[in-house]
C-alpha cells in the first residue's frame, strides 16, 4: 500500500514538475510599432531556453511552471526584462526602445550576437538596412542588391549591373521576393540600380545554400525582402535628395497601435542632365525611372492581422518621338496572420506579380508596338507550429498560376499612312506550379541541432498550346518536325515534379565554435531565354514544357564558425559544391526573342560550381565591417557549345575579395568605405581576323569558349556622413558625401575588337578630319571614373 502511494505520488509529482506552459507574443519597436524580425526572447538564467521571432515578429516557447525573468533583445535596441510567474500559458508582448546612438552600437548584422555560431542556418546573410544605407554607392544611390554583391559567394556580371551570381548560379536562378511576391526583373536602367527603395525596406535576407523547405522554385538563392509596415504610433516622414534621384516616404498611423499606412516613392532625374549633353541626339533622349511602394496593415486582435502591400515601378527610355521603350514590375501582396493558439501560427498570402515591357517605333511606313509580359498569381499557406522547445515544425503549401505573353506586335499607323508591319503574336504559355513542404527545427542535444525537411514541387504546363514533335533520334530542328500536337484550354501538355530534400546540421564544438553542414535539392521550372550574361528587360522567361525539362540543382556545404571577444568578431569558412542537371544554353546564332519553338534554339547539359568562402567580420565598436574572400570555379558542359567540352561560365571569377568598413568618429560624423577586387570575367578573344562584305571582322575558335580573361577588376569607394544641426527636435537631417571609384581606375566594362582610325577609338570624320591610318585594335570601354555625389537625407516625426 505504501509502495503504491509512493508510486502514485511520484507520478503526480513528476507530472506537475514536467508540466510546461507556452510563453508567446510579439516583439515590436516601441516607437513605431514595427515588428522586429529575429529578436530573441530567452530565460535570463538559462539563455538556451528561448526563441527568435519569425518574420511577423512572433515567438513561442515552453517553460515549466515557475518564476522567470524573460529578456527580449534585438540589436540596436535596449534590452527589456520582464518578471513573469508561469502558471498557465502566457501571452507576452515586448516593445523595445531604440538605443540612443552610441559609439559602441554601430552594428553590421541584424541577428543575435552569436547567431552565426549557434544557429543551424548556414550560407545565409541578413543585412541590416541601416548598414546598407551607410555604404558609399554609385551616384550616391543606396542599392540593396549592390550591397549584397559585397558578400562572399555573391558576385556581379559587371560594373554597375544589379544581377547577382550566387555560388556560380546564373542571374535567373535567384528567387527575389518582396513581401513574398516574386520580382522578375529587379533592376532599373538596365541594371545600374535595383528596384528596391531602401526607405521602404525593413529586412533583407539571402540564402545561398541550406535553403529551408519553405522556399523553392529557383536553384541558387532566395532573396527575401520584407517591407516596413509603417509607424502606427505617430506620423513620420523621411526622404532624400541625391545626385540623380530623390525619394520621399510617409508613415501614417491610421488607428494607433492597430493600423498604419506606408507610402514611399522615388524618381530619378537623370534625364535632366541629358539636356546638357553636347550631342544633340543625346539631348533629345528620355531616360528615367520611378517606383512606388505602399503597405497597409491592420491588427484586428492579437490573433488576427492583415497586411496589404504593393510595388509599382517603371523605366522609360526614348529618343524623341521616334522610339520609346519602357518596362517595369508590379507586385501586390495580401496577407493574413492568424494565431490558432499560442503554438500554431498561420500566414495566408495571396500574391500577384507582373513584369512587362513594351516598345514603340514610330517610323513612317514601318511603325509598330511591341508588348510582352508575364504574370504570376500565387496562393500560399505557411504554418509555424511550436511543438516544444526542441521542435518547431514548419509546413505549408502553395499554388501558382503562371501566364507568359512573350510577344504581341501590332501595327502602328502614323498620321500620314498605315504601317506595313503586320500584327503578330507569339503563342502565350500557361502553367500551374504547386508545392507542399514539411520541416522541423530540432534541438537534439545541447551540442547537436538539425533542421530537416522535405518539399514536393510539381509543375504542369497546360494548354492552350501547340507542340512540335520531331523525328526520334534527330536534332530538334524545323526540318525534322513530323507533326504538331494541339492542346485546348486547360489540357495537360506536360507534367514534372519531384521531392526536394533539405537538411542542415550544426554541432557546437564549444560555446564559441560550431561546425555545420547542409544539403539541399532545388527544382526550377522557369528560366530566362538569353544568351547574354547580364539581364535585359526583354529577356524572355520560358517555362519547362514538352521539350525543355526543369533544372535540378543539388548543393552540399560544410562550414566552420567561430566567434571571438564576446562575439565582437566572427570568423567563418564555408566550402560548397553545387551541381545542376538540365541546364540549357542557346546554340550559337540562334534567335530567342521571337522564336515560338525555343527547343530548336537550345541545347541541354550540366553545370557545376565549387568554392570556399572566408569571412572575418567585426560587429561591435567604433569600427565595424567585414573582409571576405571567395575562391571558386563555375563550369558548364553543353552539347553543341565549345565542341561539347566543359567551359567556364562568363561570370566565373576565381578570386573575389570585399573589404567593407565603417567608422564612427563622433555622434555626428561617420565614415564608410568599400574596396572590392575580382578576377576578370572569362571571355572569348579572337584569334584572327578577316574581311567580309567590306567589314573587318574578328575570327573566333568555336571549339573554345571563355578561355581568356578580362583584366582584373578593383575599386574603392568612400563616404562621409555628417548629421547637421536642427532647430526642431522632431526634424533631423544629414549630408552624405561619397566618392565612387576613388582612385579612378578605368575598370573594363567591355573589350571590343574593331578597326580604329587615327589611333583614336572615338574618331569622328566630321570633327577630326580625314583618316590617315586604320588598324585593328582592342578597345576597352570603362564606364565610370571617379564619381563624387552628395545626398541630403532628412526625417521628420
Amino acid at each position: 500500500m505504501q509502495f503504491r502511494i509512493t508510486v502514485l505520488l511520484f507520478f503526480i509529482t513528476s507530472t506537475l514538475y514536467a508540466q510546461k506552459f507556452t510563453v508567446s507574443g510579439y516583439v515590436k519597436d516601441a516607437g513605431s510599432g514595427e515588428v522586429l524580425i529575429g529578436a530573441t526572447v530567452v530565460d535570463k538564467t538559462q539563455p538556451g531556453n528561448g526563441m527568435a521571432t519569425n518574420i511577423y515578429g512572433y515567438y513561442s516557447f515552453e517553460l515549466p511552471k515557475g518564476e522567470y525573468t524573460l529578456v527580449a533583445s534585438y540589436v540596436g535596441y535596449s534590452t527589456k526584462e520582464v518578471k513573469v510567474d508561469i502558471t498557465e500559458n502566457v501571452a507576452l508582448n515586448f516593445n523595445l526602445d531604440q538605443e540612443a546612438s552610441s559609439l559602441q552600437e554601430v552594428v553590421v548584422s541584424a541577428t543575435r550576437s552569436d547567431e552565426n555560431v549557434s544557429s543551424v542556418k548556414m550560407s545565409t546573410e541578413k543585412l541590416q538596412i541601416e548598414r546598407i544605407k551607410s555604404m558609399p554607392a554609385l551616384f550616391g544611390e543606396v542599392d540593396i542588391i549592390k550591397s549584397l554583391q559585397l558578400l562572399p559567394g555573391v558576385s556581379t556580371a559587371g560594373e554597375g549591373t544589379s544581377g547577382m551570381f550566387v555560388r556560380g548560379g546564373s542571374s535567373d536562378q535567384n528567387l527575389i521576393l518582396l513581401d513574398e511576391a516574386t520580382v522578375y526583373n529587379a533592376s532599373h536602367l538596365l541594371g545600374f540600380f535595383s528596384v528596391f527603395n531602401p526607405d521602404a525596406v525593413k529586412n533583407v535576407e539571402i540564402y545561398k545554400g541550406g535553403i529551408p523547405a519553405k522556399y523553392g522554385g529557383r536553384i541558387s538563392s532566395i532573396l527575401d525582402i520584407q517591407m516596413r509596415e509603417g509607424n502606427n504610433q505617430q506620423f513620420q516622414a523621411s526622404g532624400g535628395i541625391g545626385s540623380i534621384s530623390s525619394r520621399l516616404t510617409a508613415e501614417i498611423p491610421i488607428v494607433k497601435d492597430k493600423s498604419s499606412l506606408l507610402l514611399s516613392g522615388r524618381r530619378t532625374y537623370a534625364d535632366v542632365f541629358l539636356a546638357f549633353a553636347k550631342d544633340e541626339n543625346i539631348r533629345n533622349n528620355t531616360l528615367y525611372f520611378y517606383d512606388f511602394n505602399t503597405k497597409f496593415n491592420y491588427r484586428f486582435s492579437d490573433k488576427n492581422k492583415i497586411f496589404v502591400s504593393g510595388y509599382f515601378g517603371r523605366d522609360k527610355l526614348g529618343f524623341q518621338d521616334l522610339f520609346g521603350f519602357d518596362w517595369g514590375n508590379t507586385t501586390f501582396s495580401t496577407r493574413w496572420n492568424h494565431l490558432f493558439s499560442e503554438k500554431l501560427f498561420l500566414n495566408t498570402t495571396l500574391l500577384f506579380s507582373n513584369f512587362d515591357y513594351g516598345f514603340d517605333v514610330n517610323s513612317a511606313g514601318a511603325g509598330f508596338n511591341w508588348n510582352s509580359g508575364l504574370q504570376e498569381y500565387n496562393l500560399k499557406m505557411d504554418f509555424d507550429y511550436f511543438l516544444n522547445n526542441n521542435n518547431t515544425l514548419f509546413f505549408g503549401a502553395n499554388v501558382i498560376y503562371h501566364v507568359f505573353a512573350p510577344a504581341e506586335i501590332t501595327s502602328q499607323e502614323s498620321s500620314s499612312q498605315e504601317s506595313n508591319v503586320q500584327d503578330f503574336n507569339l503563342q502565350n504559355d500557361f502553367a500551374v506550379e504547386t508545392a507542399l513542404y514539411l520541416s522541423n527545427q530540432h534541438t537534439i542535444t545541447d551540442k547537436l541541432s538539425m533542421e530537416y525537411g522535405i518539399r514536393y514541387s510539381s509543375f504542369a504546363k497546360i494548354g492552350p498550346d501547340s507542340v512540335s514533335i520531331y523525328q526520334n533520334g534527330q536534332p530538334k530542328r524545323p526540318e525534322n518536325e513530323i507533326r504538331t500536337n494541339a492542346y485546348g484550354n486547360g489540357d495537360l501538355v506536360k507534367h514534372y515534379g519531384g521531392f526536394e530534400p533539405r537538411v542542415g546540421i550544426r554541432y557546437m564544438v564549444n560555446s564559441k565554435t560550431s561546425l555545420k553542414a547542409s544539403y539541399n535539392r532545388m527544382r526550377q521550372y522557369l528560366q530566362v531565354a538569353s544568351n547574354a550574361t547580364a539581364g535585359f528587360p526583354t529577356d524572355r522567361w520560358i517555362p519547362a514544357d514538352y521539350h525543355i525539362k526543369p533544372v535540378i540543382g543539388d548543393q552540399v556545404a560544410l562550414g566552420y564558425f567561430r566567434n571571438l571577444q564576446d562575439n565582437a568578431w566572427e570568423i567563418s569558412v564555408e566550402g560548397y559544391y553545387k551541381w545542376l542537371q538540365n541546364v540549357v544554353d542557346f546554340l550559337p546564332g540562334e534567335d530567342v526573342l521571337l522564336n515560338d519553338r525555343i527547343e530548336t534554339a537550345v541545347a541541354g547539359g550540366i553545370a557545376w560550381s565549387y568554392g570556399a568562402e572566408f569571412m572575418l567580420r567585426k560587429n561591435i565598436g567604433k569600427t565595424t565591417g567585414w573582409l571576405s574572400y571567395t575562391l571558386s570555379r563555375t563550369q558548364r558542359q553543353i552539347e553543341g557549345v565549345a565542341n561539347g567540352d566543359p567551359y567556364l561560365a562568363r561570370y566565373d571569377k576565381p578570386h573575389d575579395i570585399s573589404l567593407v568598413l565603417s567608422h564612427k568618429f563622433s555622434e555626428r560624423l561617420s565614415f564608410s568605405g568599400n574596396w572590392v577586387y575580382a578576377t576578370g570575367a572569362a571571355v572569348s578573344f579572337p584569334e584572327g581576323r578577316y574581311i567580309m562584305s567590306g567589314q573587318n571582322i574578328p575570327y573566333y575558335d568555336d571549339s573554345k569558349r571563355n578561355t581568356s580573361r578580362m583584366p582584373d577588376f578593383h575599386r574603392m569607394d568612400l563616404g562621409l556622413t555628417y548629421e547637421l544641426n536642427s532647430r526642431w527636435k522632431r526634424y533631423s537631417h544629414e549630408l552624405t558625401l561619397s566618392f565612387y571609384n576613388v582612385y579612378n581606375r578605368k575598370n573594363p566594362f567591355s573589350i571590343e575588337f574593331r578597326q580604329v582610325k587615327n589611333e583614336d577609338p572615338v574618331y569622328n570624320e566630321e570633327q577630326d578630319g580625314p583618316a590617315t591610318s586604320t588598324r585593328p585594335a582592342a578597345v576597352k570601354t570603362a564606364l565610370f571614373g571617379i564619381i563624387p555625389s552628395v545626398t541630403y537625407n532628412f526625417s521628420f516625426n
Binding site: A157, G158, L274, L287, L317, L322, F323, F325, F359, A364, G365, F368, I409, S415, S416, Q417, N420, Q422, N531, T533, F536, F586, P588, G589, D591, L593, L594, R650, A681, S684, E687, G688, R689, Y690, M692, S693, G694, Q695, I697, P698, Y699, Y700, R705, N706, K746, P748, S750, I751, E752, E759, P761, R775, A777, A778, V779, K780, T781, L783, F784, G785
Partner: protein, 287 residues
C-alpha cells in the same frame, strides 16, 4: 526586329558613353591557323559570276588578306551539270566564270570548290525579286508636315510594291550614293531585310538612310536564301558584339558552304545566290 535589342543598347550606351571613356589597350591574343575566307555572289544577271577566296590574318596584322589562287571552282545546275568553270584573275584576285552566265529565276544552283583536295559545296535558289511599282522621296519638311518625325536631315526614300514568292522572304538592299557604296556597319545592318512581319503588298516602305539634294542614288535589291540571310544576321551580331555583359558570346557566323570532305574544317564566309534589280534616282529639290 532582331536588331531592336542592338538599337536599344546603342541608344542607352550612347547616353552612358557620354560619361564613360574608351581607350586602345594591348591584349595578347592566341594565333590560330589561317582559314579560308570565301565570298561570292551568284546573280541572275547575264554577267561574269565572281568569287573571292582569301586567307585569314592574325588579328593584329595590318594590310589585306592574302589571296588564295589554287582553287578549282565550278558552277553547276541542280542536276550537277556543269554550267561553267571559274578561272583565277590575278589582276583583282577574283575567280570568275569563263564567260557571262545567265541564271534562271526559280532554279537551284551549286558552287563546288576544290581546295587542298577537299570539296566545298554551296547551294542556293535564285528567287524572284519583288515588283517595285514606284520609288519616291520626300523631304524632311514634307514628312514633318505629314506629322512624321525623322532621324537626320535631307530627303527620305520610300517604295511601293509587292512580293512574289511564298512564305517569308529575305533581301539585301545596297545603297550607293554618288558612286560610293554605303558600307558602314550601321548601313550593312540596315541593308538586311526580311518580310517576316510584313504583308505581301507594301506601301511607303522606308528605305534606310537619308539623302541630300543632287545625290545620285543607286539601289540594288538582292533576294537572299534563308541560310544566307541567317549568315548576315549572325555576321551583324558579331560586328556589333562589344564583348560586354549584354552581348552574347561571340561566335563565327554559320557559313552556307559545306566542307563535305572534312566537316571539321569549314571555311569562313558565304556564297549568295540572288536575283537582283537595280534602280537609280537623282534627288532634286522640289523648287
Amino acid at each position: 526586329m532582331k536588331a531592336n535589342k542592338n538599337k536599344i543598347l546603342s541608344l542607352f550606351f550612347a547616353i552612358l558613353l557620354s560619361w564613360s571613356c574608351q581607350e586602345i589597350i594591348d591584349v595578347d591574343l592566341e594565333q590560330s591557323k589561317t582559314n579560308l575566307v570565301i565570298e561570292g555572289k551568284i546573280e541572275d544577271e547575264n554577267s561574269l559570276q565572281r568569287i573571292k577566296i582569301s586567307q585569314s590574318l592574325n588579328y593584329y596584322d595590318t594590310g589585306e588578306m592574302k589571296p588564295f589562287s589554287d582553287a578549282d571552282i565550278s558552277l553547276l545546275d541542280e542536276n550537277d551539270n556543269l554550267i561553267s568553270q571559274y578561272i583565277y584573275n590575278p589582276q583583282d584576285s577574283f575567280y570568275q566564270t569563263l564567260d557571262s552566265v545567265r541564271l534562271e529565276i526559280g532554279s537551284e544552283y551549286k558552287v563546288q570548290i576544290v581546295v587542298n583536295e577537299e570539296i566545298l559545296v554551296a547551294k542556293g535558289k535564285i528567287l524572284e525579286n519583288p515588283t517595285l511599282d514606284s520609288i519616291y522621296y520626300l523631304s524632311e519638311e514634307e514628312l514633318q508636315n505629314l506629322g512624321q518625325q525623322v532621324i537626320g536631315e535631307g530627303y527620305f526614300m520610300f517604295v511601293n510594291g509587292r512580293l512574289n514568292n511564298e512564305g517569308v522572304e529575305y533581301f539585301k538592299l545596297d545603297v550607293t550614293v554618288n558612286d560610293t557604296l554605303r558600307s558602314s556597319r550601321g548601313a550593312l545592318s540596315n541593308s538586311i531585310l526580311t518580310s517576316e512581319f510584313f504583308g505581301k503588298e507594301f506601301r511607303a516602305l522606308p528605305i534606310p538612310g537619308s539623302f541630300k539634294e543632287k545625290d545620285s542614288v543607286d539601289l540594288e535589291l538582292y533576294t537572299l536564301n534563308e541560310d544566307v540571310y541567317q549568315y548576315y544576321v549572325e555576321f551583324i551580331n558579331l560586328l556589333f558584339n562589344d564583348g560586354g555583359v549584354f552581348s552574347p558570346p561571340p561566335v563565327n557566323p554559320t557559313t552556307n558552304i559545306e566542307n563535305i570532305t572534312n566537316p571539321e574544317n569549314q571555311p569562313l564566309g558565304f556564297i549568295q545566290f540572288s536575283s537582283v534589280q537595280k534602280r537609280r534616282l537623282i534627288i532634286n529639290s522640289r523648287d
